[in-house]
Symmetry: C2
Subunit: 347 residues, 2 copies
């Protein structure tokens, strides 16, 4: 048995989102589509981890405000981050005070959360779910590498962790809640490990996991890449993205020009500091829940496959000589603007 | 709105489980119901974290063997542990090579996983799901406190992290798969923080979260404690358990004698080393997926509410002066032996 993708019969809707970035993220060409950017990495908090918590709280609040909701309206928060024991997310969940399911898929967390949220809405267990992911550059550097103040040099394969949070509100699609995108299907990733041990080359480490889930999604849902306007990976960046493209080509899956994108390559395209590109759970969460959601809402993009990619290592597994286990989760989103079935309501 | 519990219309079944313990766990009065106990904490691995991974792999393998299944038969693994970035679980997921959803609710992870697994089966997204939780005493002590070799003293409110793993296989209930227990309902926890900052008193810290989810489960499902033979908390132990009992009494919820149990109190009752009792994600996962599952299968217990309790702190949040955010997730299980509806099959 090859496995199954999840088919959401009633196609739950993303009805609002909140995207908040840090100061460096103002330089992204997509920053005009973010809801809020913070002026400093500290955000008037006492630690970078507390600033990470504030990013999540802000993204949640922006999302709630757009629909004039309060925490009492939320049936579940499904979210995670990169910090040990995902404490920034748990502290933000304390502030929200809604039922909370903590997740960890490293930088693939956003699509783990979106897939599970869609299942909880589609299956009728919840009515309003918040889901998302976040990261904070300085908190992550301090934990996984060195504090940024040390100014340690990095090889050109290294990536830059995005400071920010992206959150989406998921509901049952209806004519009353003006969907931004519909959640069609999802394929859950398997852990794939190609033996890479270099934590400064996570794009190459994650590439096979991304190729695996894209191939499985197409096969398991009887689709080809021609059914998608865009396939968007999370943070493979300039090293990993072409590797995934090559791996898929070997399987007979060849993209048209401009069809295969990567949030890590798009996030800060002109900045030399970012080396191979952007990374972090916030990288794809912020672009998917701002720019790509806007494109889907307008109908300028009809259908996308969002593939968040995660490296499931820790500083300890690196020290203990382990290679990097990687994962990617894929969620298929469609545009309500070009999809007349979307407003049928009850099915 | 008070919130909703999840009602599983087709009542998914736990059809097999695998429970593996460490050497100290052989002293538990329930060890005769475990499937396997390891003779050393090292388990011939090079690190305690790798031994933690081995516990998970063994518990998964035992579960698969009972139903003569292989990894290809598994639609999803939902699991987590206490180690930074849940790397033991991710490494075990690499070995299993099935779709993997990483979870983190600290010691409440087992019931987060069981609730989500039941939703994925009941909603029709998966056919066979593995879920569970694990911990390793020496790996956890090293990360959260001091390496055990230091011999640091602890106050009598401290608890002893269980070494082990408990895994369950969830399927749609049918006459063909001989259910051990049926999963009726679940209530997802909110983060509750009563201001306790002492990481050696987690029972007291977690007690209000446990009381909150028990009260919400009863109210939201229109039940009283008279509907349950047993309500079983995860690892509140000798300090936290009576606090939860008092908090519920103040809300008019008074247990009958012997009705309100705690896995942390039961796990190693006679051992002075364990201070206030047992703790760790494995504590409740091991007892619920061995002893209580056996009782449900026999029908000697008709209905239980399993309430896993978790403290969502990290060494860093402690160092930064944060109080301990806590959570508890509740899953309602019934006995197939006394429940004639269980074998109706398709509904």
């Amino acid at each position: 048995m090859e496995g199954k993708s999840w088919i959401f019969k009633n196609r739950p809707a993303i009805v609002a989102s909140g995207v908040v970035g840090g100061p460096f993220e103002q330089k992204s060409p997509y920053s005009g589509e973010f809801d809020l950017v913070k002026d400093t990495l500290w955000m008037e908090e006492e630690s970078f981890e507390k600033a990470n918590r504030q990013l999540i709280e802000s993204a949640i609040q922006v999302t709630l405000d757009k629909k004039t909701l309060s925490s009492n309206d939320i049936d579940a928060l499904l979210m995670g981050d990169l910090i040990n024991q995902i404490t920034p997310t748990s502290m933000a969940a304390r502030t929200l005070s809604a039922p909370y399911l903590g997740l960890f898929s490293a930088c693939a967390t956003s699509m783990e959360g979106l897939a599970l949220s869609a299942a909880l809405i589609d299956g009728g267990y919840c009515q309003k779910v918040l889901t998302g992911a976040s990261s904070h550059n300085a908190a992550v550097e301090k934990q996984f590498r060195y504090p940024t103040e040390y100014g340690g040099q990095k090889p050109p394969t290294a990536q830059w962790t995005v400071t920010g949070a992206g959150v989406a509100l998921i509901e049952k699609a209806s004519p009353h809640n003006a969907p931004l995108a519909l959640i069609e299907k999802a394929t859950i990733g398997k852990v794939v490990d190609n033996g890479i041990k270099d934590p400064f080359n996570m794009g190459a480490a994650m590439a096979p996991a991304a190729a695996d889930v894209i191939e499985r999604h197409l096969n398991q849902t009887n689709q080809t890449i021609d059914d998608f306007d865009l396939i968007i990976t999370g943070d493979l960046s300039r090293i990993g993205h072409p590797i995934t493209e090559d791996l898929l080509k070997q399987k007979g899956i060849a993209f048209k020009s401009g069809q295969f994108l990567d949030c890590g390559k798009m996030f800060y395209p002109e900045l030399p500091d970012v080396q191979a590109g952007a990374s972090g759970p916030a990288c794809s969460a912020m672009l998917v829940y701002s720019h790509f959601l806007n494109e889907l809402q307008k109908g300028s993009v009809r259908k996308i496959l969002s593939v968040a990619t995660g490296a499931l290592l820790s500083p300890l597994t690196f020290q203990q000589g382990e290679s990097i286990p990687c994962i990617a989760h894929a969620v298929e989103l469609s545009s309500p603007a070009v999809n007349s079935q979307s407003f049928r309501g009850e099915e």
